[in-house]
């Protein structure tokens, strides 16, 4: 009841801002109202027993509600991407904030950034209370929410305000190619090259993140270092999306779909990028009769960059779980997944003896991995898709699952393998 009232209050605060535009104080007020609503939900969560069994996740998202929510979310993303005028009436929600922080009027991306960061922070607080008895979950949730607040939102916004000349350069620094699919597009490369020291820093660090940091860190800790601890998409999935995690399907068929989608997408962006960079270096705009923009850049940006990662990626949370994009579409996840699968110290280890086949681990795996099948045999889960969220280990009532990053040789295995 209190929760419903708090949400109504927050909605009213938003409506008041849209209609009356009361300025910065009003904008802070609606943001605070949502935090209050989140606190009300966190309070409800705190009164429940910790642990998954006391939360009827499966029943809550009944079919009709799920479809309605999916329709609303996909609709909202479609408006955001393809009908900017539709967003304009909402800009008073964040206009003064934008001027105050970065000295520029709000646009739809600023509104999206505020909403996204707010969602991550508020639902992150609820999730931290939900998993309050597990330090790994508490830490991970805090880090992923802070990464969104600091790197993806606050720092770029402040730098944009301080360095107006290079405002376009200051973006989410931890977002790198191939997830940042336009990084090597001519307009970005031109801006980076013209950006002096700061431009060079972003260019070199962007390449290093992809070419050095990602493989080394993935070898060392598995792709969780990024996917469930730092990434913005992962941040939303692990916080707002947590309530949807049991909807990820774990059938072998879905695993097949996963492989048939994610690796071709990685191939696609790789080919497109090689073409774009090649054309850039050669100083041409088309390769033979093919326009680089029309053939390579634009289709990927539309199909994968907008449709898949946004409209479907978040819009389908209520239908296919909270990692639709990460599981089926993200080329960075595919790239790090290959490293994780081929050579990494990371694995999810299980012990055959203790498993009672309850299936809690499989149900809660947001990547749709049938963890139980591995646990029953006492095998390591070495799957390219595992993002190391650790929830399987958290929910296992027999405590037979653990996340490990150790050099394989040094590990003594308990598993009773037959």
């Amino acid at each position: 009841m209190i929760q419903i009232l708090a949400v109504l209050l927050a909605l009213a605060a938003c409506a008041w801002n849209v209609i009356r535009n009361p300025g910065l104080a009003g904008e802070v007020a609606w943001l605070a109202a949502w935090s209050l609503a989140a606190a009300a939900f966190a309070w409800k969560e705190a009164r429940r027993l910790p642990g998954f069994a006391h939360r009827p996740q499966v029943r809550r998202w009944q079919k009709v509600g799920r479809w309605a929510l999916a329709a609303a979310l996909t609709g909202a993303y479609s408006v955001l991407y393809w009908w900017p005028e539709g967003v304009e009436p909402l800009l008073p929600l964040v206009d003064d904030l934008s001027t105050a922080v970065r000295g520029a009027p709000a646009d739809r991306w600023w509104l999206y950034g505020v909403a996204y960061t707010g969602l991550v922070l508020n639902s992150g607080a609820i999730v931290a209370v939900r998993y309050r008895h597990d330090a790994y979950q508490r830490r991970r949730t805090a880090v992923v929410a802070m990464a969104q607040l600091v790197f993806a939102f606050t720092v770029p916004a402040i730098l944009q305000g301080l360095d107006v000349e290079h405002a376009a350069l200051h973006r989410d620094w931890k977002l790198f190619w191939p997830l940042d699919h336009s990084f090597f597009e001519p307009y970005r490369l031109d801006a980076l090259r013209a950006g002096g020291t700061i431009g060079r820093f972003y260019l070199i660090s962007g390449v290093l993140l992809f070419a050095v940091v990602a493989p080394v860190a993935t070898y060392w800790w598995g792709k969780r270092w990024y996917c469930s601890w730092i990434c913005g998409c992962g941040g939303l999935a692990e916080t707002t999306g947590d309530a949807f995690r049991t909807l990820s399907t774990s059938t072998p068929k879905s695993w097949k779909w996963e492989r048939w989608l994610i690796y071709p997408i990685l191939g696609w962006i790789s080919v497109a990028t090689v073409a774009v960079v090649g054309a850039y270096i050669a100083g041409v705009e088309s390769i033979g009769p093919l326009s680089v923009y029309a053939v390579f850049t634009r289709p990927y940006g539309f199909v994968v960059g907008a449709l898949f990662s946004g409209v479907i990626g978040v819009g389908f949370y209520p239908l296919l779980g909270n990692r639709v994009w990460c599981r089926f579409g993200c080329p960075l996840a595919a790239y790090m997944g290959i490293i994780q699968r081929v050579k990494s110290r990371f694995r999810v280890s299980t012990q055959a003896g203790g498993c009672i086949s309850c299936g809690a681990c499989t149900l809660h795996c947001e990547m749709g991995i049938d963890v139980r099948a591995y646990a029953e045999r006492g095998e390591d889960v070495r799957r390219a898709s595992c993002v190391g969220c650790g929830v399987c280990a958290e929910v296992c009532p027999r405590d037979v699952i653990r996340l490990e990053s150790t050099s394989e040789g040094a590990v003594w295995r308990l598993n009773a393998k037959d």
């Binding site: 009827p56 979950q137 308990l414 009773a416």
Partner: protein
């Protein structure tokens, strides 16, 4: 060509079927009466709570196994067939009885019309999932009792827990640990009544310590083996039939548990298929969870002396047992997940006390893979003395 007929699709039957199917040593028929496919019995509580769907609990069987839904009501060891209700007969060359156990009924009086529930079969979880009592009482202080209590608390019911023993889980925990756990359980609002046998279930519930009013009650006071149909079909009689076998909870060879039943099934299946069975780990590793406290017990041998710490406030405790040579042979951890492989390796090797002082946890693992360093340091210092 052999034809293996397995009656009971619990863990024992399923594991035997899987082992036989993998060995391709004959046709395998798996018969179950409760549900068409095997399912996780320990997972039933999550179904009862509404946290899982039916499909989440169901377990796959290899495609080579022919799964039959039905109840076996008769068999002929001489003519080698079993008969299902409805008259269908399945011939066999080897028959495996893995029919498990059923909930022990409440031995006292139950008032007519008073709702009493148990949690043993598939249908029990379905029934419980539709119940929303405002007040609820549970008879029995074992693990299933604890699950039924958590079910009540999770539903927001005023919950009583009547336990016959003076301490919770006294066979696993020390008195001090038991009382820490009891305090924690009470902290969740449960009315825990220790040393309280129940005589009558009804309005009121009559116990050795007074009368209580509850809308419904759960009973979890152990199990009794399911009957093997037929005249005088005792386990002894089966032991004399070379092509008949009994495994799992119906004929426990050790504790009645999921793990023991799975192991027994796999062992028998592989033996019948003429394959060697790998040895067990060098110690038993037993875990349970009650009100978010994991109790982990690693046992290699009976210790001659023990050291322990108990934090009564958080109900976390750690107990280490050593043999006369000072080698580590038992560990009981409540509230700490005792699962670091390095620690287990040291344990399995019967590491001496001073070697344990060097055991270092891994820095980046979920909570519990590391033990509280202070507790370790103190315990090991004490132990070395």
């Amino acid at each position: 060509m052999e034809r293996f007929v397995i009656i009971g699709n619990g863990p024992a039957g399923r594991a035997a079927a899987a082992a036989l199917a993998a060995s391709r040593s004959g046709e395998v028929v798996l018969i179950g009466r409760e549900h068409p496919v095997p399912f996780s019995r320990p997972g039933l509580i999550y179904r009862a709570m509404g946290a899982m769907r039916d499909a989440d609990l169901e377990l796959p069987v290899p495609a080579e196994v022919q799964a039959v839904h039905g109840e076996v009501v008769a068999w002929s060891p001489e003519e080698r067939w079993v008969e299902l209700a409805g008259g269908r007969r399945e011939p066999f060359s080897q028959v495996i009885w893995a029919v498990g156990a059923k909930a022990r009924p409440f031995p006292g009086t139950v008032d007519p019309g008073f709702p009493v529930f148990s949690l043993q079969e598939w249908g029990d979880a379905q029934t419980l999932s539709h119940q929303h009592p405002r007040s609820w009482g549970v008879v029995g202080g074992g693990l299933v009792g604890a699950e039924l209590v958590e079910w009540g608390v999770g539903r927001g019911a005023e919950t009583h827990w009547w336990v016959r023993e003076p301490h919770l889980w006294s066979e696993r925990l020390t008195e001090e640990e038991s009382s820490a756990l009891a305090r924690r359980v009470r902290g969740f609002g449960v009315h825990l009544h220790l040393a309280t046998p129940v005589h009558r279930l009804g309005h009121p519930v009559v116990t050795a310590k007074g009368e209580f009013q509850v809308e419904a009650a759960g009973v979890a006071i152990g199990v009794v083996p399911n009957a093997i149909p037929g005249d005088a079909c005792s386990l002894d009689a089966i032991a004399h039939v070379p092509h008949a076998h009994a495994i799992g909870d119906v004929a426990p060879d050790g504790p009645r548990s999921w793990e023991a039943a799975t192991r027994a099934g796999r062992e028998l299946g592989m033996r019948l298929a003429g394959m060697p069975f790998s040895a067990s780990p060098p110690f038993s590793d037993d875990r349970t969870r009650c009100f978010d406290r994991t109790v982990t017990t690693l046992t290699a041998r009976t210790p001659t002396w023990e050291v322990s710490t108990v934090d009564a406030r958080t109900a976390r405790s750690l107990r280490l047992g050593f043999d006369e040579q000072g080698r580590w042979v038992r560990a009981v951890a409540m509230g700490w997940k005792l699962r670091s492989n390095a620690i287990k390796a040291a344990f399995a090797a019967g590491a001496p006390v001073d070697a344990l002082a060097d055991a270092r946890p891994f820095f980046n693992e979920p909570e519990g893979t590391r033990l509280p360093l202070n507790a370790w340091a103190q315990l090991l210092k004490d132990a070395a003395r």
